[in-house]
Symmetry: C2
Subunit: 191 residues, 2 copies
């Protein structure tokens, strides 16, 4: 279990995703565990807290999510840049040892059976809200956020504190071709 953890109130859990980070999608079913990267994840609602994530038919994650009905969404940091990219490039279907080769370390929160990834800044446990048309036509999955946690060095009191945290805790924002951007400086529109 990583240090510096605290639960996040569900009505404020959208803030973990509001700035549009690339996420890791974790899942497990029948003893099989997987993690993929996804740039196409987004908050959807405050209460009950919900999110969307696009999971392609070619991914192994898709079967694990559909079969287990649960998944984890987490916000990887600059400290696991290479791992984040690698789990987005390689499929468990072709590389059964994918997670070990990528150097991804899993853990579980007490009372939550979804595997989670070390080196992230925030973790959201989700229950799949089945929407067969969206899943089939658009690869679009909707999850209800059932629990959330964050690294208190960088998210506390309902707000991100990237500007005072170590650089290695910055969230990652993927473009293409291995190029990410870290989140940058704080800008206040009022005051």
């Amino acid at each position: 279990m990583p240090p510096h953890l605290a639960p996040v109130d569900l009505p404020k859990s959208y803030r973990l995703l509001n700035h549009g980070p690339t996420v890791l999608v974790s899942s497990s079913h029948a003893g099989e565990e997987n993690v993929m990267a996804a740039a196409w994840a987004c908050a959807l609602d405050y209460t009950p807290a919900k999110l969307t994530v696009v999971i392609d038919k070619a991914t192994r994650t898709r079967a694990l999510v559909e079969n287990s009905g649960v998944f984890g969404i987490q916000v990887p940091t600059a400290s696991i840049l290479k791992q984040t990219h690698q789990v987005g490039q390689v499929s468990l279907a072709n590389a059964p040892d994918k997670l070990r080769e990528a150097g991804v370390n899993l853990f579980r929160f007490e009372g939550c059976d979804v595997p989670m990834v070390e080196g992230c800044a925030a973790w959201l446990a989700c229950r799949l809200i089945p929407e067969p048309h969206n899943q089939q036509a658009y690869d679009l999955f909707i999850g209800e956020i059932t629990a959330a946690w964050a690294d208190t060095r960088v998210f506390r009191d309902g707000h991100w504190h990237f500007e005072t945290a170590p650089q290695e805790l910055r969230s990652l924002h993927y473009i293409a071709g291995g190029r990410f951007y870290a989140i940058g400086e704080a800008l206040d529109a009022v005051g």
Copy 2:
């Protein structure tokens, strides 16, 4: 019309949103024009290029989008930080002069009737793909991207170039309470 404009190939238009910026949603119908800010917008597909955006029932934008069947999604920059926040806080329903008061300047691309906002780094013209269940149950709208343009000072050759562009062209990533983050430094996972 802003300077430094170039069209973006539709299969690469997802890259304009891939790093999760807060966007502006522009719309018009029967002579009424509006712009709102939205943090909950996300790429959905490559070809045909699609995106999702959450548009609450309380917004005036929702009626304009549903009635016209088209809308614009654009990536505002640090140069219009205050305008971006203000159009996210004030509704046209209560403030008919909202756009003028916020200092938002609209223009139109040739051959495209959707109003677009000056001071952005990228603009996507969208056609609503009606999905009544998603719209009613989740406030979730799906658009097909029918044309895209970018400011070549910061996006060209299919890639963002924030790291070599003026700071005022950084994209904005909203959290809450008037606090945004600008996109930050480039990180390459390979090489």
